[in-house]
């Protein structure tokens, strides 16, 4: 066997690996044309809802926890008699961390299973892939994750935070703590880049300096250079929009470079309780996060949610913000249907405005115009036990403003 033959084969193998990696980023527009609204099948004594999450692939880590909490909500509702007297029958599909697959499965849930609503999606890319499917079929999606804003589909309810409920409060908090300069570190894709555009506009208007802005490719685990740059910049704080595994490498590097929460705090928007477990409290203690919910959020609704979740899935399983938002989504849908008195999508939508729910995160209210929900912003500090405790909150629910129209400094953004 010649050495060069081996190399040529290796080149082929590398192409194969690269191709496999690319399919995860590919996108496909689903447009079979013609269809105008599929009515949900509610003739029996059950009503079907679709659950669309990645149970395999790189996003499975996060999305499985969301699926679990959606199931918890479904069980609770069924135990209490269902929706309009009908038991919910969940139909699960695996989006497989692949955006075209999400679009395909969404189509299947709507057209074949004729579900009344779909709960799921995590990444903005998967949401963007299914959005045309829901709009074409006039079907409903409940999307549970904080995202970059600047979107408002009539067929999506956004139960996670938009930028003015997470990133802007995070900046307000830093400003109130006297931070005059920030360094921006993020993963190289749409959410961090959009978020950083907003942060830069905020900084300009609020007398803060952005000392640097660096992006790491998704999945990157080499942060020597970025941490060197952050350190030599002497910034008062770091705003971190890294996603996934990169956070682990970033925080390990951060600590070994001698940086700490006391000297230069890091505010993260993608690190919840589950991620804290994977990174290690040794590296995270004292660092800040911006969310709307923590496992430690006080209140009877949350104690009940946490206890029910742990009883069902295990005492070592933490609850986190996206899980809570997904759980809230199911309950909000129930309330909307009951107020409308029907499962019909248009009726549910027009009934949505002003619906409230005593959620684990506190009282939330649906804003019918934007189809986002008003929620309380909370800044938390990561403790030695891996739990996040609140150090600041907005006092009252913040009205959703996905296009940041009420912020003069953001006028040039969208």
């Amino acid at each position: 066997m010649s050495l060069f033959r081996g190399r040529r084969i290796l080149a082929g193998a590398m192409t194969l690996v690269a191709a496999a990696a690319m399919t995860a980023c590919g996108s496909k527009t689903t447009d079979e044309g013609g269809a105008t609204g599929v009515t949900a099948d509610v003739s029996g004594d059950t009503v079907k809802v679709g659950l669309l999450n990645s149970l395999s692939g790189t996003m499975a880590i996060s999305e499985v926890t969301v699926r679990d909490s959606i199931m918890l909500a479904v069980e609770e509702i069924n135990a209490a008699g269902g929706v309009l007297g009908k038991k919910i029958q969940p139909v699960g599909e695996d989006g497989a961390s692949d955006w075209p697959t999400f679009a395909e499965k969404a189509e299947k849930l709507i057209s074949e299973d004729r579900v009344a609503a779909v709960f799921g999606c995590w990444t903005s890319a998967s949401r963007k892939a299914v959005k045309p499917v829901f709009e074409k079929n006039k079907a409903l999606l409940f999307y549970p994750v904080q995202y970059e804003g600047l979107e408002q589909s009539p067929y999506i309810f956004y139960t996670g935070a938009t930028t003015n409920q997470q990133i802007v409060p995070g900046l307000d908090y830093l400003k109130s703590q006297g931070a005059k300069s920030v360094y921006l570190v993020g993963s190289d894709y749409v959410f961090p880049r959009t978020a950083n555009k907003i942060i830069k506009a905020y900084a300009t208007a609020n007398g803060m300096t952005v000392l640097g802005e660096d992006y790491a490719p998704l999945g990157s685990t080499e942060f020597g250079t970025i941490v060197n740059k952050v350190k030599s910049s002497g910034a008062d704080a770091v705003f971190n929009t890294l996603n996934g595994d990169s956070n682990v490498a970033f925080f390990k590097e951060y600590k070994s470079a001698g940086l700490s929460a006391a000297a230069m705090p890091v505010v993260s928007v993608s690190i919840a309780e589950e991620e804290v477990k994977g990174i290690g409290t040794q590296y995270l203690e004292g660092q800040l996060t911006a969310w709307n919910y923590y496992q430690t959020t006080p209140g009877a609704a949350n104690s009940k949610f946490v206890a029910a979740y742990k009883a069902k899935y295990g005492a070592d399983k933490p609850t986190s913000d996206p899980m809570e938002a997904a759980y809230v989504g199911v309950h909000l849908w129930k309330a909307m249907v009951e107020k409308a008195g029907a499962f019909d999508v248009e009726k549910v939508r027009s009934a949505s405005d002003g619906i409230t729910f005593d959620a684990p995160e506190g009282l939330v209210t649906v804003d019918g115009k934007t189809q986002h929900i008003a929620k309380t912003a909370r800044i938390g500090k990561i403790g030695a036990d891996g739990l996040i405790t609140e150090v600041w909150n907005s006092g009252k629910p913040v009205a959703p403003d996905p296009y940041l129209k009420t912020y003069p400094w953001a006028s040039g953004l969208s």
Binding site: G6, L10, T221, T225, D245, S256, G278, I279
Partner: protein, 295 residues
């Protein structure tokens, strides 16, 4: 100036990581010419070994010290099993080897997911290795990076000496240079192959332990490393350790410089373009093994 030295050290330490993950591959791919796509999963096995040991040994320093030899043996044993059960039957069929080992890598990833769960797990690093050495002029050098550099250099030194001085090393070199001649001279080539595979895979396990100090420990950690590891060995020249050593550090420094002057994504592009250009100029890699073998 401080930043310059900081970056130089960052480059060297990126090189040390590359070297550590590529060293085992330099043996199995470089010496035996087996394309083992599951090499990354042996690295993962080493990392999870550290995690498992830390569940029973509480001292972070002690468990790390124990993890080094144990991970070497665990990953090495996995390598031998793979060699005996699959690769041996496919020595003349490189394309099949590639597909089979890729399949094995997927199986191992799923196995890790089933045993340890899909979220990342954490290990505690010894306090000593989370600190840094402060040098005059405000320059700091992270202890974990120093440790990895030392480990990589020690592994290279041990491997070089073993290949040069021990009877086993002589046999390995003989098989690499001319398998048929070695066989007729009375060397049990299949046993040598097995031992080489044990060493190569064991080194991957060692790399896994070191990587727990830097990055995530999860089922997919190996996949992220395997391409870099192959690049180092291919550019370094097949059949040569010194090529891998030089190339690992050169790529590390190039990467760090590129990162500093541009962005991380662009730096990656620069490195890949440089590699493509280099291989156009020297398709055989930096060093080549001259033999009279006909193969």
């Amino acid at each position: 100036m401080t930043v310059l030295f900081g970056q130089l050290f960052t480059g060297i330490s990126i090189g040390a990581v590359l070297l550590l993950i590529a060293l085992g591959l330099a043996l199995t791919f470089g010496q035996m010419n087996v394309i083992n796509m599951a090499h990354g999963e042996f690295i993962m096995a080493g990392a999870y070994t550290t995690y498992v040991l830390q569940q029973s040994i509480t001292g972070a320093g002690l468990s790390l010290a124990v993890a080094l030899p144990v991970a070497f043996v665990v990953a090495g044993t996995m390598g031998v099993l793979l060699e005996v059960l699959l690769i041996r039957r496919l020595y003349a069929r490189p394309l099949d080897t590639l597909l089979v080992t890729w399949g094995v890598s997927l199986i191992l990833q799923q196995l890790a997911r089933d045993i340890f769960g899909s979220p990342n797990v954490q290990t505690r690093a010894p306090e000593l290795l989370t600190g840094n050495v402060a040098l005059p002029g405000g320059l700091t050098i992270a202890n974990n990076r120093l440790f990895i550099l030392a480990l990589a250099l020690a592994a290279v030194a041990a491997l070089t000496l073993a290949l040069r001085l021990t009877p086993l090393g002589r046999r390995i070199r003989a098989v690499v240079q001319n398998r048929d001649l070695a066989a007729v001279s009375g060397i049990a080539t299949s046993r040598v192959d097995r031992t080489t595979f044990f060493l190569g895979s064991g080194l991957a396990g060692l790399a896994g332990v070191a990587l727990t100090l830097l990055g995530p420990i999860g089922p997919t950690m190996g996949t992220n490393l395997i391409i870099d590891a192959f690049l180092v060995v291919v550019v370094g020249g097949i059949g040569q350790l010194k090529g891998s050593v030089i190339v690992a550090f050169a790529l590390g420094v190039l990467q760090a410089t590129g990162e500093y002057l541009t962005t991380l994504s662009v730096a990656k592009v620069i490195v890949f373009v440089a590699i493509v250009a280099f291989l156009q100029w020297r398709p055989q890699g930096l060093f080549t093994l001259r033999t009279r073998s006909l193969a």
